[in-house]
């Protein structure tokens, strides 16, 4: 699985808190605790999945890796280099090596630019190939992504959702990145198109030897597509384990709840109970103790006071839940 000792990407104890100024008059800022003490690793050639529901911070994490925001605490290392505090100008090379594909294929493409303009701009900005070779490369990229090269002269709104997503992927790949962040790349698409895109992403990964961080709320897709999975809840990592052992070895009560909440595959598998009730707490309050304590079937008193740390449960398996790790009931 991992070929090098140094992971391509390493995130250590990352916290990202946003503050937005309240109304001009009152001037009380509201804070959003998007990420709290999050750590992850991705080795070259891996597909690492980040799964969680809305508000868990997975998109923020994806953007943090790209340094589209500034971390409040913690460190991000890419190819051994600390990129946590670099400024925009210094990040220019990083922005070639780490690329992103967004969830909403329509919103992430400039409506007023042709496909050619988009691809050329990226290639020329990062000096990917000589100017006279760009046309050929653009056409080649589009074909690789399953599109007809005559798409070059057209505008985003002339394409279907699935096609636009392929364009987004082509754009990301045009600068030959090493790491690709896929932020819910198939969530906005019909199921049969999802399958096409996932197959495409996998073949591109092999062709370009990419490392992929795959962010999704869909457990089934993540289980199918990724090598390792990180489960997030309310800004924290609650569990991390290899994908093939997800169903058998998941221990964190939230992970188990997520798995049980997935609709059945057959009418005979209907369940009568609802696995997790209640609501996610507001991200505007500073988290106290375990984020999941209020909804957790296994919670004890100490859960509300002390923030659980991620502990090893087995090979490549970590859980942030003292109750599960130490069997304290």
């Amino acid at each position: 699985m991992s070929s090098n000792d140094t992971p391509l990407l390493r995130v250590d104890n990352l916290s990202v808190h946003f503050s937005s100024r309240g109304s001009w008059l009152l001037n009380e800022p509201t804070y959003t605790y998007a990420l709290n003490d999050v750590s992850l690793e991705a080795h070259k050639g891996e597909i690492v999945g980040i799964v969680g529901e809305s508000g868990c911070g997975k998109s923020t994490l994806g953007r943090s890796i790209l340094r589209l925001n500034t971390p409040t605490e913690g460190a991000i290392q890419f190819q051994g280099q600390d990129i946590t505090q670099l400024r925009d100008r210094e990040l220019r090379q990083i922005r070639k090596d780490i690329q992103i594909v967004f969830q909403d294929p329509l919103a992430s493409l400039n409506p007023r630019m042709t496909i050619r303009s988009m691809l050329f701009e990226a290639m020329s900005f990062h000096n990917v190939v000589a100017a006279d070779k760009r046309e050929a490369r653009a056409a080649w990229l589009l074909e690789l992504c399953g599109l007809n090269p005559d798409a070059l002269d057209r505008y985003p709104h002339e394409f279907s959702g699935g096609q636009r997503q392929r364009i987004g992927i082509a754009r990301a790949l045009s600068v030959s990145p090493k790491l690709l962040i896929a932020d819910e790349p198939v969530s906005a698409l019909d199921m049969s198109i999802q399958a096409q895109l996932l197959n495409l992403l996998y073949s591109l990964k092999r062709e370009f030897d990419l490392t992929i961080i795959f962010i999704s709320h869909d457990m089934k897709v993540v289980e199918h597509f990724c090598d390792r999975i990180y489960v997030m809840y309310y800004g924290t990592m609650v569990e991390h384990l290899p994908a093939r052992r997800l169903k058998s070895d998941a221990r964190h009560p939230y992970t188990q709840g997520l798995l049980e909440a997935i609709p059945p595959d057959h009418p005979s598998e209907r369940r009568s109970t609802v696995p997790i009730s209640g609501e996610v707490p507001s991200p505007h309050q500073k988290p106290r103790g375990c984020a999941f304590a209020t909804r957790c079937p296994l919670s004890v008193e100490s859960c509300g006071h002390s923030t659980p740390s991620s502990e090893r449960l087995g090979l490549d398996h970590q859980v942030a839940c003292p109750v599960v790790v130490h069997h304290t009931h």
């Binding site: 925009d88 967004f102 909403d104 992430s108 493409l109 709104h157």
Partner: protein, 287 residues
């Protein structure tokens, strides 16, 4: 967020469709075109350049040679009105172009960079806006003296506020759009993102502002001339109306009537066309 997912081609189709659907709008457009052609013809020296020629007796009523009669110096009123059309068009064009350019630039910088740049520009346009624009126009023209360049400067300094505020608002919205984040993720710098990615998505608003300022300039020129601060030496609708005031007392209304009607028609046509344009460009109208 909802970004108008349109291109220039797409906008063109919508605009043509909207116009085709409204006979009034088409008529307005025709009126504007006629006026524009007339203005060009005047500029090329093809018509009405003899606006100073004495063609007949003073205060003649409309007759075979002078379709709208003559003024107090015996000059053909119709020729003067047509000539004044050229002035109106030029004033409108120059004012609208410069105002939109200046306003868009300041609005884009303001909305995108925020901070003290934004604070300063917002303060600036709030201040300018709070002064009744007539007083502002008068004050500036007075300082600069009467004459065309004074008029331009006064107008641009007054009218840049409209586009500035609107473009600023739009840029604020677009700043958070996903394709802008995508551009940042590609490593592009702020200037490139602002002018190559964001501003082109605001041009539909700039266009509407352009036509609005065009009309406002024409109307304001009339008012300035009425106050003696406007164009000198050449007839403009404003000076004609100003001069014709006294004639009304004597029952002679052809000059003031002609100039007023000419202006009114153009302004009305522009208003209708702008309304239709605005409806066509409204992103909420997308299917």
């Amino acid at each position: 967020m909802n970004i108008p997912n349109t291109t220039f081609q797409d906008l063109r189709t919508r605009v043509t469709q909207k116009f085709r659907g409204s006979p009034v709008a088409i008529f307005s457009l025709m009126v504007i075109v006629v006026y524009a052609i007339a203005a060009v013809m005047v500029m090329l020296g093809l018509v009405a350049n003899d606006f100073d020629a004495r063609v007949g007796e003073k205060f003649m009523s409309p007759n075979a040679t002078s379709w709208l009669g003559t003024d107090r110096l015996g000059r053909d009123i119709l020729s003067r009105i047509v000539y004044a059309n050229k002035i109106a068009f030029i004033v409108g064009l120059v004012t609208a172009t410069l105002s939109v350019l200046l306003g868009t630039l300041l609005g884009a910088l303001s909305g995108f960079f925020g901070g003290w740049v934004d604070a300063f520009i917002v303060w600036l346009y709030s201040t300018v806006e709070s002064i009744p624009y007539l007083l502002l126009l008068i004050a500036i023209s007075y300082i600069l003296g009467a004459g065309l360049s004074g008029v331009y400067l006064a107008f641009v300094l007054t009218f840049w506020v409209g586009p500035c505020r609107i473009i600023r608002g739009e840029v604020l919205k677009l700043k958070e759009a996903e394709f802008v984040i995508a551009a940042r993720a590609m490593g592009y710098g702020p200037m490139r993102i602002l002018f190559r990615h964001i501003v082109p998505n605001t041009l539909h608003l700039a266009l509407v502002n352009f036509t609005l300022i065009f009309v406002a300039a024409i109307k304001s020129e009339v008012i300035l001339s009425y106050l003696g601060l406007g164009v000198q030496g050449e007839p403009s609708w404003g000076t004609m109306i100003d001069q014709a005031r006294a004639e009304l007392v004597n029952g002679f209304f052809w000059q003031i009537g002609g100039a007023t009607v000419a202006m009114f028609l153009l302004v009305l046509a522009f208003n209708i066309a702008t309304d239709t344009l605005q409806q066509a460009l409204d992103p909420r109208q997308t299917r």
